[in-house]
Amino acid sequence: MSELPPIPRPEQAPLPPPPGQRRIVLPPHRQRARRPWSVRAREWIRRNLFPSPGGTLLTLLSAGVMGIMLAGVIWFVFFDANWNVITANRWLLFAGSFPREEAWRLWTSIAVVMFLIGLAYGTWSSLGRRDTLFVVLTGAFVIFLMAHGGASIWSSIWFLVAIGLLYVGYYLTIWMPRETSTRRAWQQRIVGGLLALSLPIVLIVLMANGGATTRQFDGFVLNLILAPVGIVGGLVVAIPLALGRASTMRTIKWTCTAYIEIVRGAPLLGWLFVALFILTDVIGDNLIINTMVVLAVFTGAYMAEYIRGGLQALPSGQYEAAQAVGLTKLQSMQLIILPQALRISIPPIVGQAIAIWKDTTLVTIILTLRELKGNADSAIAQSEFIPDRIEAYVFVAVVFWVVAFMMSRVSQRLERAQGIGER
């Protein structure tokens, strides 16, 4: 064979201009947005509320329905209801038999958690005007409750400090230098680590050195402890379960499958009975600990299935590319597969978290542990508050809703914060 033809040199494609040098020109519709707000408001109203005769009719109809409902709510909240049942029993609802002289432990825990939430917000997201509105409303409501019942001024100050720490944490992360991806990664690692440690930290603050015993976790505080333990414990159980069920080793696969199917086969109510009658012989007669175990075991089975769904949703090319790069199985799981699978399963996992949050009320029925709903029951069992049943339950419902709503917002934020890496 003769010489091959000479290989032509590749042409170099011209580089696009480096970022930052482009002039930003607003598209026409953005430029127009600079008209006075009154004009824009009028336009918005016309476009969104009265676009056509049919649309106008619908607007009026729904405005009427909403108006009637709103009037009813206002009437109930401000004129009809007797909120004394809440203000008089606020410690019972909040912490029940938690020793009052140890209240500083509760406030400190709240402050620590608020600070960490602030750090997390600054690291992965940003506090918007709506978040601030939410904080202000909730804060005002809590202070009102405390002031109305004549609580010591110190608890109000503690609470304000806790709210302040939310913003301190937030602006701390914003202020810290994080231009490079390395610094951002470190910040995320540190804050993530602190968040992971927050539950043990809170438990230590509450219990260490002559603090409360687990049996004194009571009222809303009990819900606030049980749910995170169930959720975090569930995740810890779920990840190995999901990997095990996806494993090729038969015994591991079958064990994990059996666990998941058996746990999901019975309602939480049933498993709480196990905590009451069986775990008392196995673990001990501390019902709160038994309940924590059951909640983690139960939540784990569901979350494992969601994570398995995430694992299956990943294209096989991801496994192959990780192998081709030379990563070991463990490394590719840890660095490539799990991060993506977990992200895919954020929405159902948060859904399960919200479910378990609401299900913490079940412990009252089965285990006669007194969480928020249980303590509301005892509040209205007092003769003077018997007529205020509705007020007590409305209050409980609103508190549960607020927390569930916050969780769902966090889920949305997580998804959006992670969305940038989507394919």
Binding site: I7, Q318, Q323, V325, Q340, I420, G421, R423
Partner: protein
């Protein structure tokens, strides 16, 4: 199969030092030289009588092929002929069922360390890019060097930037894969494979998922790589690339290696009927 070939410039060659350490059947000896520039190169990939079954279906049927260091081999064949299966066996994304595969003197077997050693010598580029979508472009490239080669982060990043420079997209380092065009993604994938400093690069239809205007930018990078002396095995339907860059074309059909030869041989007088039929359809 080898004895059926029209020998092209067979140059007898003594075994390299590493080659000598590998036990090889004496009968087979050295592979043939398809281009004068490969004279004196040792065989870096040796596959002998490789079979692969998927259940009852035989995907590879007695494939024997020896590839020289620095050689550019383009594999052709109709869909389902086993091209992907063959090159996936070369870095053990598939396990072969019979025969032997020796990569740079390392026998492919159950030994995990051998597999790790082979994977660090062989880079692979996929049709679907398979970048890690949750990592930035830079992290996609530094991951292997950092985690497998234990390279310090700064060094790995410097290497990654150098490679991005080489594939022509240094300005994309901080983006995520989803923010890049297909051609840019594939070039990142090439850089990611190169970051492990492999001796051999496998390409499985690297341009098949690309829009026509992006094919050239990827082929240019591959051509530059070929000129730099990389050993490359490329499954592709880009006949221009095969003609210009390949030292040797190999034609697969129904899991078997049907014919091999220089591009000149293939494009002027292919011997087998199946090859002729395939080339007439594709050209």
């Amino acid at each position: 199969m080898t004895d059926e070939l029209t020998p092209v410039d067979i140059i007898a060659e003594s075994a390299g030092p590493k080659e000598a350490a590998v036990a090889q059947p004496a009968a087979n000896g050295e592979g043939e030289v398809y281009s004068p520039r490969l004279a004196g190169s040792k065989d870096i990939i040796v596959t002998e009588h490789v079979d692969k079954w998927f259940g009852d279906f035989q995907a590879l049927d007695d494939v024997s092929l020896r590839i020289k260091e620095h050689e550019i081999v383009v594999i052709l064949g109709p869909s389902g002929s086993g091209k992907s299966t063959y090159i996936r066996c070369l870095n053990r994304l598939e396990e072969h069922d019979a025969g032997r595969i020796v990569i740079d003197g390392i026998e492919m077997n159950e030994d995990v360390r051998a597999m790790a050693a082979i994977r660090s010598e062989v880079g692979m580029v996929f049709q679907q890019f398979n970048l890690f979508p949750h990592l930035s472009v830079l992290s996609n490239i530094t991951l292997g060097p950092q985690k497998v080669r234990h390279m310090p982060k700064l060094e790995a990043e410097a290497l990654a930037m150098q490679l991005l420079e080489r594939v022509g997209i240094p300005e994309q380092a901080d983006k995520f894969p989803s923010q890049l065009s297909g051609g840019q993604q594939q070039r990142v994938a090439i850089a990611r494979a190169l970051a492990m400093q492999p001796k051999i690069m496998l390409f499985d239809e690297p341009t098949s998922a690309l829009d026509p205007e992006m094919i050239k930018e990827v082929l240019d990078v591959m051509q530059e790589l070929a000129e730099s002396g990389m050993t490359m095995i490329v499954v592709t339907h880009e006949m221009g690339f095969a003609r210009e860059v390949a030292d040797r074309l190999v034609f697969f059909d129904e899991g078997a290696l049907v014919e091999q030869g220089t591009p000149e041989h293939f494009f002027t007088n292919p011997r087998e009927e199946r090859t002729k039929l395939f080339l007439s359809q594709i050209l």
